[in-house]
Amino acid sequence: MLNHLPILQVVIPLLAAPACMLLDRARLAWLFATAAGLATFAISCLLLYQVQHSGPISYALGGWEAPWGIEYRIDLLSAYVLLVVSGIGALVLVAANTGVSREIPEAKQPLFYVTYLLCLAGLLGIVATGDIFNVFVFLEISSLATYALIAQGKNRRALWAAYQYLIVGTIGATFILIGIGFLYSLTGTLNMVDLAARLPAIAGSHTAYTAFAFIVVGVCLKLALFPLHLWLPNAYTYAPSIVTAFLAATATKVAVYLLIRLQFSVFGEGFAESALPLDAIFLVLGLVGVFVASLVAIQQPNIKRLFAYSSVAQIGYMIVGMGVGTHTGLQATLLHLFNHALMKGALFLALAAVAYRLGSSDIKAFRGLGRAMPLTMAAIVIGGLSLIGVPLTVGFVSKWYLVLATIQAGLWPVAVLILLGSLLAVVYVWRVVEVAYFQQRPAGLAVVKEAPLALLVPTWLLVIGNLYFGVQAGFTADLAGSAAAALIGGAP
């Protein structure tokens, strides 16, 4: 069975979903979904092990060898991202039972888990596949599931947010479809490796440039790269807290993966440099994103929204890393992809705990929480420090490599701006800290208890991850390093 891991990785959640539909008890559905999630995670670990020891794996679906059939291709990069996505996915599922209990009516919870599994399967499918049209199909699975998940939020604005995301997402997907169409008309193939082999021949053509441009724009819409981020804050704010935790930690990461995969593996570095200077564009948009989003975050009265904007900013950092275009830069991006998943996973799960106790994520709700929910708030503080990039947290590791990359590339101003950006993070994180620790909970309000273990344990697992991988960054750094090296050469 071991040689079938690549497909099992995706098919288990994909088929678990309809099976889950047959169980009509919320708790049952949850147990089943969680089991599936954990199995997926286990598989991703095995896959990573396999890839590390025996190189990239290719799996011919339907027994038709690529490029005629659809190929699943797991290299270090995809294994790494699969690990992040399935890990967070499983962890959030563990917390879900309690997490959704106050936000989604019991009757709808089975369907919720079905949707969740479909979303997970879609995301994993995007990462695992080596066929560019298959990317589109699984992109749509995850997207449709995402829209449904977001729309489950209690506030009516969740519906509006979901609709906006649906429109933007579909436009993005259609752009990608157009791009794929051009590529196909030029090369007659859909397999990524095959494409990579055939593209150089037609690198000069306008059609190829446009295909590249449309695909990049389409992905960037999904990625919420400034200024295409407008759908994200509402979506994250009004979605059920659990969903936000899941999406924030995985969805945008997969989009980043897709961008990296297409730019470096399919089109090849600097494919369209002459026509569109992508690196420069990424640098600029990334940095502008960091600043605009951080500044907006500072003013948000709703903490969920605050961290949503912070996500936009953090995506900016990843894009900057790509913009630097060196090995270290890409390594920084990949590291931050992993680290940011840990940070935001922990933060949004903690917010889910707060929402569970107080039914709100408004900053006023946080008054005096330092005493009322010490463990939850401690998680938020550590997550926040990690966002800032304080040493001994993963955030520091990301910052270190990012700044190192810019300095190596002699991009001094960029380095300075990155660090200024993290100072803005200090401001918005500290707003929460001050309110939680130095303001008294107004008298007369109901007493708040610490969050239930079902939420605390997953949250703290992620927090510990934040610290562990901040102190023992060897594992992630090497992994990201060799993955980056596989993409653009340079010292692994």
């Binding site: 040493p391 910052k399 700044v403 190192l404 300075v416 200090v426 001050e434 960054a473 750094a477 090497d478």
Partner: protein, 491 residues
């Protein structure tokens, strides 16, 4: 105890305060036990650090590597004379300060005392980490830990004012460290492929001219804790904190960590030879000199006792920077020595200020007429501390100033010399009036009737005052350590 292996001693020096902190949290419900834990772990730490001194004096450089943060980035500790000196000072003053804190915190029945003692312990651990740091990254890590762990102490009161002070404190320290220090470190890493502290420096000729000076200034201003103007504002702001915290900031850990890092980086990263003769390097000298004079002038115009002390600290710190900037071995010795003696003097002064507040609730200098007769011990100690600041024998302050001056003459830095002379006069000008008021003016009526502060406080401050004298007469350990540093600075 002497059988303790140096490696273990280093680890213990870091662990003990943390263990103590844990104990404090656990015993939070029972104050006596809690304070007991604090004192015990403080004394234990002192004992452990003491075991290291002879080895360092014997020329050994014990070291431990805890773990690898990133590939090639280790959390590594090496004990060299300067770090030893700083560690000794911190470890020595922690018990004293704890003793004082007990008196103060109870005397003013402050809130959240457990939180206070806990973060205090963490801060000490961080100080140890800084003192023994074997490379820039380790230094940076613990530097930030120190900043964060002292933040709750600065905002201890939780009042709006305290919050504001906290923001300034955190704002400036984080901004400078992340905005300047970190890139400087990464730059150094990029240049030399390492960040290890090595006698004679590691920069060598990998960088020249303006860029070298730029890097130097990035380091110097990046270390906000050294409070070189204009990044000094956090220090006066932090005055809202309880006096023991001020003592911690000004004497035990924080600012000392700052100037310590400055010295360390000048000597062990750049190396005096590399800097000497580099065009524009005197900028640092100017900055320090300006800070010394300007701070003293500002101090003159403060009526609030603690604020005046705060500005005096800013001035005194820049002596150390000055000592480093003169780039002469002798001045470096003086600078190192100053770290220690200023600690003793300043902690005495703050203890006294705190004692006055505890006993009489007076904070302004103008209220202090005749207080000397109500609190003879306190004000006596204050007098000694003041003399030490001015640099008059028989107070220890004289020693360090002497060596810095010698260094200035040796290096022919007449500007530095001038600065020292002027600032000494200014110091006298803002300390002596206080003593005059306290002893030779009649008390205004209406003040509340009071005697000395609670006993622990008085004992503590007399002890430190006594030490300032003792160190003058028998410089012993601090002096030897300092001169070892001088030797390493000029291999």
């Amino acid at each position: 105890m002497m059988s303790l292996s140096p490696q273990l001693a280093i680890v213990l020096a870091l662990a003990l305060p943390l263990v103590g902190g844990a104990g404090i949290l656990l015993s939070g419900r029972r104050p006596n036990l809690r304070e007991g834990v604090t004192l015990v772990s403080a004394l234990a730490l002192l004992a452990v650090v003491a075991t290291l001194v002879p080895q360092v004096l014997a020329g050994e450089r014990p070291q431990v590597t805890l773990f690898e943060l990133l590939p090639g980035l280790e959390i590594r500790f090496v004990v060299e004379p300067l770090g030893m000196l700083f560690a000794t000072v911190a470890a020595f003053l922690w018990p004293v300060n704890s003793l004082y804190s007990i008196g103060y915190m109870r005397g003013n029945n402050e809130q959240h005392q457990t939180r206070f003692y806990f973060f205090f312990a963490v801060a000490i651990a961080a100080a140890m980490g800084i003192a023994f740091a074997g490379n820039l990254v380790t230094l940076f890590v613990f530097y930030e830990v120190l900043t964060l762990s002292t933040y709750p102490l600065v905002t201890h009161k939780g009042s709006e004012q305290a919050m504001g002070a906290g923001r300034t404190y955190l704002g400036i320290l984080i901004a400078t460290s992340i905005g300047l220090l970190l890139p400087a470190i990464i730059w150094t890493w990029h240049l030399t492929g390492s960040g290890d502290f090595t006698p004679g420096g590691i920069i060598g000729d990998s960088l020249e001219g303006p860029l070298l000076v730029l890097l130097l200034l990035m380091f110097m201003f990046g270390i906000g804790k050294a409070a070189i103007m204009p990044v000094h504002r956090w220090l006066p702001a932090a005055m809202v904190a309880p006096t023991p915290v001020s003592a911690l900031l000004h004497a035990v850990a924080v600012v000392k960590a700052g100037v310590f890092s400055v010295l360390k980086i000048v000597v062990y990263v750049f190396g005096l030879d590399t800097l000497r003769g580099a065009p524009g390097v005197e900028l640092l000298l100017y900055a320090a000199g300006f800070t010394v004079v300007a701070a003293s002038v500002v101090a003159l115009r403060q009526d609030n006792l603690k604020r005046r002390l705060a500005y005096s600290t800013i001035g005194q710190l820049s002596y150390v920077v000055l000592g480093a900037a003169i780039l002469a071995p002798l001045s470096v010795v003086g600078a190192a020595l100053h770290v220690a003696v200023h600690a003793l003097g300043k902690i005495t002064l703050f203890f006294a200020a705190g004692a006055i507040y505890t006993a009489s609730k007076k904070t302004e200098i103008s209220q202090l007429d005749g207080i000397g007769w109500r609190m003879p011990w306190t004000m006596g100690a204050f007098a000694i501390g003041a003399l030490s600041m001015i640099g008059v024998p028989p107070a220890a302050g004289f020693l360090s100033k002497w060596y810095i001056t010698m260094g200035a003459i040796q290096a022919g830095e007449w500007l530095a010399l001038g600065v020292i002379v002027i600032s000494t006069l200014l110091n006298a000008a803002y300390f002596l009036p206080i003593l005059y008021q306290a002893f030779f003016k009649a008390e205004q009526g209406g003040g509340k009737d009071h005697g000395e502060a609670p006993l622990p406080a008085v004992v503590a401050l007399c002890f430190t005052a006594l030490l300032t004298l003792v160190v003058f007469l028998f410089p012993g350990v601090p002096f030897e350590l300092a001169s070892h540093l001088g030797a390493e600075a000029q291999p």
